[in-house]
């Protein structure tokens, strides 16, 4: 039997522009892009060059550190451009898509009786492997290890998050098939973590997994928090995580033999005219989704949610792992005595802003940090939004001091950036908690 866990410390940030329940289809965009920058620490080794024709499922590039790990094309078409940045680092591989997607076919027949190694090989060559994320550090999973458990968070609690019962509707069989594959990859349990007040009917036909139920506010939907509550990661242990959308990809792949990365994503936020769900594919050019769909010009487009997502251009591309686009106003304006008399409501946990805290229900939040960076002064605020048994401020300080032993002692193996995003949000001193943590994780990963 799974566990029932109540998350008390946390915060739901209610923003304007929750997606309506409609799922729209739009014309498939002309270009797609896979961005190596979406994957932490990835140095790509190119497998294609500009002008090459590819089918969906063909390998675009591999991970230089482990060349078995492929990243494949989400659509068929022609390699339009390999975008390079500083020091010729590859930023994106753009594909000019065919009007109808043709697939490279994989032989997945009888997958149910295949061994773990055979399944891994198929996942690696098909390019579905990168969807499995490894903890500690939140990096690409190492195919040579067997994790002690695999965790799937069956819901998303982030601000403006997609309702998975909508985005995964119709994927029930694929999800069930995907879980069958996952079960073979671990020696331990596969945990499916659900929320008591969220619809989880799409997981109805999943069997043989540990179902844990959570209640309470964000970050209850973060898989890191769930792992910490169910079966925490100790030094030397490895756990894998994967999002339900990607479990469906895996299931579909083994059922059909095709790498079909079609998914339903949410377009949300106060600056979106019609916040709703849209059917598209991994790596899609989002300009079509946002054209005539924005309220103003001066906006921040985020692939992912407002706490952890990546800033992209209005004609940018959906991130590899993201199932949501958030659009909020930029905050690049001066505010006269704004620290004393805030001129508009803003999300907060501080009772020093009583109107925002107690009266206002949803916010039109912008990207102004509402203050400048300062040294740590206030204490006890991170703890209010940190449900894990980790001392957040002390951990961040140990990273600032580059004290590796202390970082390990204080539980750095159990967290990745998103787990401390709320700490960053509430920080009075406006410390970039996620950036600091990221440096710490990098340092630890190098050392171990």
């Amino acid at each position: 039997m799974g566990q029932n866990i109540k998350i008390k410390r946390g915060l739901d940030i209610n923003l304007e522009g929750t997606p309506s329940f409609d799922v729209h289809s739009v014309d498939s965009p002309a270009t797609f892009a896979i961005k190596p920058t979406d994957v932490k620490g990835l140095v790509p080794k190119m497998n294609v060059k500009q002008g090459d024709e590819v089918k969906a499922g063909d390998c675009l590039f591999t991970d230089k550190k482990n060349e078995r790990i492929c990243f494949t094309a989400p659509v068929s078409g022609e390699i339009a451009e390999i975008v390079r940045g500083d020091r010729r680092a590859i930023l994106a591989v753009k594909i000019l898509a065919d009007s109808t997607v043709s697939f490279t076919s994989f032989n997945t027949a009888g997958y149910i009786s295949k061994t773990a190694d055979e399944l891994k090989e198929l996942l690696l060559t098909s390019g579905l492997w990168p969807f499995i994320v490894q903890r500690p550090f939140g990096v690409l999973a190492d195919p040579s290890v067997t994790p002690k458990a695999i965790h799937v968070s069956g819901f998303d609690s982030a601000p403006l998050a997609a309702d998975l019962s909508i985005t995964l509707k119709g994927e029930e069989a694929n999800i069930a098939a995907g879980f069958e594959v996952l079960k073979k990859l671990t020696s331990g349990k596969v945990h499916l973590n659900l929320h008591t007040s969220k619809d989880s009917s799409v997981y109805g036909s999943v069997s043989g997994v540990e179902r844990n139920t959570f209640s309470g506010p964000h970050p209850s939907g973060l898989v890191g928090v769930q792992i910490n509550k169910i079966d925490p990661i100790n030094k030397g242990e490895v756990v894998w995580t994967i999002k339900p959308q990607h479990v469906a990809f895996i299931g579909k792949f083994f059922e059909t033999g095709n790498v079909d990365l079609e998914q339903t994503i949410a377009i949300a936020g106060s600056e979106v005219t019609k916040p709703a769900y849209y059917k598209t594919r991994v790596g899609a050019d989002i300009s079509g989704l946002l054209s005539n769909n924005l309220r103003s010009d001066n906006v921040r487009v985020i692939s992912g949610n407002v706490l952890t997502g990546t800033k992209i251009a209005k004609d940018g591309y959906l991130g590899l792992y993201d199932t949501q686009i958030s659009v909020i106003p930029e905050g690049d304006h001066y505010e006269l005595l704004g620290w004393l008399f805030p001129s508009y409501p803003r999300p907060t946990i501080s009772s020093t802003l009583p109107i925002s805290k107690f009266l206002k229900k949803t916010f039109k939040a912008n990207t102004n940090p509402h203050g400048e960076h300062r040294a740590f002064v206030v204490t006890g605020q991170y703890e209010k939004v940190m449900p894990m048994d980790i001392m957040p401020q002390q951990l961040i300080k140990s990273i600032m001091a580059k004290d590796l032993e202390q970082m390990e002692n204080l539980g750095i193996y159990e967290v990745i950036e998103e787990d401390m995003a709320l700490c960053e949000f509430v920080c009075t001193s406006k410390i970039d908690v996620q950036r600091v943590l990221s440096e710490g994780l990098e340092l630890m990963a190098e050392e171990s």
């Binding site: 940030i13 923003l15 601000p159 100790n234 921040r300 407002v306 706490l307 952890t308 997502g309 800033k311 909020i328 930029e330 905050g331 690049d332 304006h333 001066y334 006269l336 005595l337 704004g338 620290w339 004393l340 805030p342 803003r346 999300p347 907060t348 946990i349 501080s350 009772s351 020093t352 802003l353 912008n366 990207t367 102004n368 940090p369 509402h370 203050g371 400048e372 300062r374 040294a375 002064v377 206030v378 204490t379 006890g380 980790i390 001392m391 401020q393 002390q394 002692n409 204080l410 539980g411 950036e417 960053e424 949000f425 509430v426 920080c427 009075t428 001193s429 406006k430 996620q434 950036r435």
Partner: protein
């Protein structure tokens, strides 16, 4: 707003690097960000941030201090006129006290902010808001009769030795305002204690019969030294214990009124700016130690009802405004309980057992400031042990 912004933008190049007045860059920056929250935006990680910042946090503390300060000003006038036997209006009392207090506040802010801005400019970092609170706390814990040069000297000492040598705001070990007071207490004891310094009365001005400017703490110290028993007559001249609650007694400028201080405490607790855990545990620590001494009994100090300790001297002021300084206090949530409790206990111990210092809260807080990192260390170790135990299990 547009007009003001344009003016600021016009001035900005003069104070920026390469400008004529670039040596005042930090000062300009401090004033600019006081007027306008900057137009910066987030770039990575969290795209939205909470509306709270350090300016607002510190400003809440300043507001919380005002009831005690206002009352203190009035009380200064009241004490003076009571001593010389004059009946005057509330406003006249307040005016008298304000004229005594304002120069001290101006010197404290002037010296402190000057040094802060110089350090900020020199080290190339923005001016921190912390001194807005410290600069007001320093005058509030001074005796009204303190010479202004002493205030300036103590402020300079507190900012430079108490804070900047540790790396500035957020890094200091000791509470800066108490460091200032301690500096004067040790260096200029006669001006900082006794029965003359609390209510300034010029030489040759006649006081009413029987008048004494001594505080309750002073009387008690004397009485227990002479082996006299406890009685309410040991409270400061012509007052009852309720006067200590209202604050109509001599003392440091703003420390006397328990009620005014509690109004500030309520604001700090409701807004979450001050830690209720520390305040509560300090009070509990004081009552605990006072209670034990009551049971032992023997002299005036031992026999005074334990709760009297909370309302006489600087106990309440220290508890609400000094122990809760987040930088010098314990920073872990469990550590805060321990930290506060020991401050309460130590305050009473110092009051009762130390013949040299009638007041104990200042020493107790500074002592626990020093021990706060140790308390935190133990709390952090318990978290680490929990994690290690999990590996073994």
């Amino acid at each position: 707003m547009k007009f003001l912004r344009d003016q600021v933008d016009k001035l900005k190049p003069t104070f920026s690097e390469g400008g004529k007045l670039s040596f005042l860059h930090s000062t300009f920056d401090a004033l600019e960000t006081f007027l306008f929250v900057p137009n910066h935006t987030t770039h990575s990680g969290g795209h939205i941030r909470d509306g709270i910042d350090l300016k607002r946090t510190m400003f809440i503390v300043v507001i919380a201090l005002l009831p005690a300060l206002m009352f203190g000003m009035w009380n200064l006038g009241y004490q003076f006129h009571r001593a010389v036997g004059m009946e005057v209006s509330v406003l006249e009392n307040f005016w008298y006290g304000m004229l005594q207090t304002l120069p001290i506040i101006i010197v404290s802010y002037g010296v402190g902010l000057g040094i802060e801005m110089a350090f900020a400019q020199f080290k190339g970092h923005p001016v921190n808001e912390g001194f807005l609170v410290t600069g007001l706390l320093i005058p509030m814990v001074m005796p009204a009769d303190v010479p202004l040069w002493m205030v300036g000297l103590a402020t300079a000492f507190a900012v430079v030795i108490g804070k900047e040598v540790f790396g500035g705001t957020g890094m200091n070990l000791l509470n800066p305002a108490l460091t200032a007071r301690m500096f004067l207490y040790i260096g200029y004891t006669p001006e900082m204690s006794g029965d003359k310094c609390w209510v300034p009365i010029a030489d040759g001005v006649a006081t009413v019969d029987g008048y004494s400017g001594a505080t309750t703490l002073g009387n008690l110290s004397m009485a227990s030294g002479e082996g006299k028993p406890w009685s309410d007559s040991l409270l400061s001249w012509g007052t009852t214990i309720m006067d200590s609650v209202y604050g109509t007694i001599p003392g440091s400028i703003a420390e006397t009124s328990v009620i005014a201080i509690l109004i500030g405490a309520a604001l700090l607790i409701v807004t979450g700016v001050g830690s209720w855990k520390i305040m509560l545990s300090t009070v509990l620590g004081g009552l605990f130690m006072g209670g034990i001494l009551n049971m032992v009994g023997g002299n005036a100090w031992y026999d005074m009802p334990a709760w009297y300790h909370l309302v006489i001297g600087g106990f309440m002021f220290g508890t609400v405004f000094m122990t809760t300084d987040p930088v010098s206090a314990a920073q872990t949530e469990r550590g805060k309980w321990i930290y506060g409790f020991f401050i309460g206990v130590l305050t009473i111990l110092i009051r009762v057992f130390n013949p040299g210092y009638p007041e104990g809260i200042m020493m107790a807080i500074l002592l626990m400031n020093v021990f706060a990192p140790l308390i935190d260390y133990k709390v952090i170790q318990s978290n680490i042990k929990m994690r290690l135990k999990r590996v073994k299990a």
